[in-house]
Symmetry: C2
Subunit: 256 residues, 2 copies
């Protein structure tokens, strides 16, 4: 249940994150720097973008090392894409969901269905023309490590969400969703809960972690160097949720 007031504050002064960096320590330092304006509270959620998690964990591929398969070369030629990036996406994919109209949608090893399997060339860093990031291997574990470091250093156990920007069918534009969580349930199942009139709400599941990721994105700004934010007042259900809880099993999927 929400208290009617939600605040999102992007962490300022984050340095460029590089492979091998201790990201939890970097985030703790940034949180310390903002502690004057924002003393961290147990009802805060720390949102961290996939991009800096992947960079710190070295989930980066140098496209000059990639030999694309002929199908990738042909698709790239038709649609003005980089065939090496397509090759990386295909190698990562559990399955190809759509591969048409210039768009490659795959299911990642984590079970996410998204364009380019989350493989992304933007904002990798200066002089990074041939580098792409992959999704973190285990984004829940990445969130766990950040949460532990914050708890140990600042004495507050805040949930952590790792976010990424996904497109969606039928509507233009990307929205941020959660790809990893620690310390909260990613969805709130309100089925069986009475609505404001006392009528039982039969089909309402709230995508709480995704909503929190989206709210954080509003404060990031897409081309700014703000890759982390604190979301206050969203009041997620605390618990040891995993991102798999949000993924719809294939038997319920109407858009395979």
């Amino acid at each position: 249940m929400s208290g009617g007031h939600v605040e999102v504050l992007a962490l300022e002064g984050m340095p460029e994150v590089r492979p091998g960096d201790d990201l939890p320590a970097i985030l703790v330092a940034a949180l310390r720097a903002t502690v004057e304006v924002l003393p961290l509270r147990e009802d805060d959620v720390l949102v961290v973008t996939q991009k800096i998690v992947s960079k710190a964990e070295g989930a980066i591929v140098d496209l000059t090392t990639i030999e694309p398969r002929p199908e990738a070369v042909e698709f790239a030629r038709l649609w003005d894409r980089d065939p090496r990036q397509l090759e990386v996406v295909l190698r990562q994919a559990r399955r190809v969901v759509r591969w048409q109209n210039g768009v490659l949608i795959t299911e990642t090893p984590h079970g996410f269905i998204c364009a380019n399997g989350g493989v992304d060339a933007s904002n990798v860093g200066p002089g990074s023309g041939n580098l792409v990031t992959l999704l973190p291997a285990d984004p829940d574990a990445s969130a766990d490590r950040i949460r532990s470091a914050v708890r140990e250093s600042l004495g507050v156990d805040v949930p952590v969400v790792v976010s990424d920007s996904f497109g969606r069918p039928w509507r233009w534009g990307i929205m941020d969703v959660a790809i990893g969580v620690s310390g909260m349930m990613p969805i709130d199942d309100l089925r069986g809960t009475p609505d404001a009139d006392g009528r039982v709400m039969r089909s309402t599941i709230r995508a709480t972690a995704d909503e929190i990721a989206t709210a954080a994105e509003l404060a990031f700004g897409k081309t700014d160097r703000r890759p982390a934010a604190v979301v206050r007042g969203a009041r997620p259900t605390r618990g040891e949720g995993r991102i798999a809880d949000v993924l719809m099993p294939r038997e319920f999927d109407l858009f395979p």
Copy 2:
């Protein structure tokens, strides 16, 4: 571009909205009541849920007047649904997108693709067991009227978003999206804009209005009586956008 700080404040003290109510006037009164804590600014966005817009506009159907077609009766029997609600959805629909696994997904006359065509039985009001709301006939026009009333009464021209909760493929849970806008562009096309490294971002369209709707939802709480909120700091692009701008034309749709 965002300033790194976003705040969402749900309007308190909203009365139960009834058919024929002057919703713009009700919202202006609620805004006046919160003006002490939140003087409205030009960089605010007022988000109003579909439910109260539909109720004020009388977009309500009494299910006791509905005779369901045989297919609706059979589907309802199989999946424990109300056949009369299914009938209302089908009558409204421009086309049926999916009708299986207990789920009816249609394209509405506005071009939205969503479960039950936006026809909703929850939170319609006390003693409303047989009432469902339809989507507003023209949610952009609804937003225009609210924006005009706020501008005339409070002297501030704030963009208005009418929001609704939609499910999505592949993930459990609903997220709020925009179904009507006034005074802002619903998407921000960053294609061709350099990213933080100066690399041109080729495929980034931000779903700004949908993100703002989602941020507002975090402050609403699903079973609370908070059907409107002010989102501050999101910095949407001002302009006379229409919700159709966010809808993907059929020729780009990979999930027809």
